[in-house]
Symmetry: C2
């Protein structure tokens, strides 16, 4: 007898063969998928602890949001449509200095987790400060996550003296190494222009010794690349490579301004990259050369970035934006297909953060991270093509159920075990000093 | 005593002063707004037939989707990621020839209307064939609309012989001229490359005589512009102007490839334009020069286009795409601000379709076309800036209530008077032959 059976849906597995079961059935035991396949109409349903009717909806692997700053939801809509440096120096940095305290981080992270789960994200890869507080909330909310304590050569929330940034990151890793089966600690180096060579090398040494992922923003803006060239005489990726930072356990974020040599180098070293199209668009940063990333064989995940620069955490919207942006950028409607965008938001994102053996597709032996799109939603009709529907028609609000490691975290569009009101009120209170 | 009072929300009026009432109150009598303003905390609520608590949500004018092809929802996801001509010739045209029948148009239009109302669109400007059938459904669903019977120099659904295209359009106008207070008939000329000069002039003469809007696709693709230059020795807008088509009652759609002379000419003639960013992106058509449209003083509305090329009818997503696309296209995060995007989706869209005296803002004397964004939705917190929230954070599924001409069409996220199931099943049935 299975613990959980899901039937009566179109199952998009995102396995290597891109198998789709138009009328499928999937079984879960404990936290794992133990069976998946087509369901002959005449077969009776096998017995199970719980049987869930997907209601003719689309069943997908839980989405992987490969780049977030969960607590920054506190600044959603605080300062938009501004020049990048005005936005950062006059609004975001002062707001962070004033408001990023453990209670506020707790309140904000809870909202972000609610928003992610309700929109079908089962795994996120986060980098921020006070990450220990972030991790506590993520554990409580039942999201799967790779979480990186921030490292930067300037004072930051919880790390008043940058001298201690490596030590704080190390303590974070030790604390979360085995504490929660859904959480993997990581190191989040802010960027090569905000961290000196010594910091970068110490951070990588720490990550390597602990066997964890190193996340780093790279080449987000053209200015950053000019600065790097002026300071180090080379491009950011070459700089990172010279310092020994590039390998399979390094995740670059943005990469808007990578040139072909950097792309080839990153591909050769096996480093993954996270594409954040909506953030890059909104800040006017530029259009990442994603078609060239894919051609070079780079592993490309998809991220919403933090809510100060997006301003939502809907990975369905991000898939849609990625697919459309590169079509218009290249004047070619065939590039970044719906299937490629869905791969980025699932299996490729999982691969980029080192979790593809466990998640990212609906396959036997993988973790039961599963979402069901609501078959009653008008946007999902008529159903000609479930992949196209998920990428171009759906939005996060089409998610009916979200299951992480076999447990329902969202059921019938409601968080399980949480009153939304009790999550929203503390965030409004925390944000009030900014009005 | 008012018929309807709405209170306890942030009212974004979109009036000329961009007035926002952080704690506002609005009164409706019959189909009109009769009062709006701030609400002093201590004031008791005046008596009203119905009092609606906006629940701390954002109250906006109903959105104006200024370019749709409602029945094309039947082809949502049918054929994506294909070269433009393959998509059109091998998929869309054959599907139209086979499936655009009155019963199918009825089923599909009902779904589109449901989708629009649920996502906060209270007015749409549509152009298609069998528009008489479209109009019947729009009337039934209670949407406000400008509806144009299609004119094209090739056989089309319901107009087997193009010789009759003007006569069919004329009959449509006569039939709908006074039939429904929410519907205004219009003429929809497909495009200058699919309609010869005589057809264009006859269509404009018909529209002018009837005092209705002429809608026309213009300069959607670069190929189209080359074709026009080869055939007529001038750009599409100059061609239309030479034929006498450009005036305040002409609405151009797309305008992706307009040059500065065309923009100046259109502005001089007072013709409006509809920007459809997501359709243009997905088909790889190009990026319309919207910042130049705005600088030239053109009236710019916003449209989702038909569901064959988008594939949804969420104008919130379209606002977000418009704001972000032009930022990245111009490397300037200050262009197409949230307020400008909201204007396009409300008052400027209303102006473009000739309805700005009646709709597009929350002002005394205007029609009571009002939407309420759900204050309980996690994406709408914290609330620093309601305009930014509506454009960058919200989606169509954040709409709690939709009111058209004083009548609730959506209440608590449900269509009033319709079972969604009874709308979805006929569309699935109609679409089945395409599988």
């Amino acid at each position: 007898m299975y613990d959980l059976l899901i039937h009566n849906g179109t199952f998009v597995t995102v396995d290597a063969e891109e198998t789709i079961y138009p009328n499928g059935i999937l079984a879960v035991d404990g936290n794992q998928i133990t069976a998946i396949g087509p369901r002959p109409d005449s077969d009776p349903l096998p017995p199970a602890g719980e049987t869930v009717d997907a209601g003719g909806g689309i069943v997908l692997p839980g989405l992987v949001n490969a780049h977030t700053h969960l607590p920054m939801v506190l600044f959603r809509g605080l300062a938009d449509d501004l020049p990048l440096m005005t936005w950062l120096n006059d609004h975001i940095f002062p707001a962070e200095a004033a408001l990023i305290t453990p209670p506020n981080v707790r309140a904000a992270t809870r909202l972000s987790c609610a928003e992610l789960l309700l929109a079908g994200v089962t795994t996120c890869c986060d980098g921020y400060f006070l990450e220990d507080t972030v991790a506590g909330v993520v554990e409580e909310m039942g999201l799967r996550a790779v979480l990186g304590q921030g490292i930067i050569d300037t004072p930051a929330p919880g790390v008043a003296d940058p001298e201690h940034n490596i030590a704080v990151a190390k303590a974070f890793i030790q604390q979360w190494r085995t504490r929660c089966p859904l959480i993997r600690p990581s190191v989040f180096c802010h960027a090569p222009y905000t961290c000196g060579p010594e910091t970068l090398q110490a951070a990588k040494a720490l990550a390597r010794a602990a066997g964890v992922l190193l996340q780093i923003h790279v080449a987000e803006t053209r200015d950053e690349v000019s600065q790097m060239r002026a300071r180090y005489g080379c491009s950011p990726v070459v700089h990172l490579d010279r310092l020994g930072l590039l390998d399979r356990d390094t995740l670059m974020v943005h990469g808007v301004w990578l040139d072909d040599a950097e792309i080839a180098l990153a591909a050769d070293r096996g480093a993954g990259i996270v594409h954040c199209p909506e953030s890059n668009m909104k800040l006017g940063a530029g259009i990442a050369p994603v078609t060239r990333f894919l051609a070079a064989g780079l592993t490309v995940g998809l991220g919403t970035d933090g809510c100060a620069s997006n301003n939502n955490q809907d990975l369905f919207k991000e898939m849609d934006a990625a697919a459309k942006l590169h079509k218009v950028a290249s004047s070619d409607p065939t590039v970044v297909s719906a299937a490629e965008a869905l791969n980025m938001a699932t299996i490729d994102g999982a691969r980029a953060i080192g979790l593809d053996a466990a998640i990212g597709s609906l396959e036997v032996g993988k973790q039961a991270d599963i979402i069901i799109l609501d078959g009653r939603h008008p946007r999902l009709h008529p159903l000609h093509n479930p992949v196209s529907q998920a990428v171009y028609a759906a939005g996060g609000d089409c998610v009916r159920d979200t299951i992480v490691a076999g447990r329902f975290r969202v059921r019938n569009r409601r968080l399980v075990g949480w009153e939304l009101k009790s999550i929203l009120a503390p965030v409004e209170k925390a944000a009030r000093p900014l009005r």
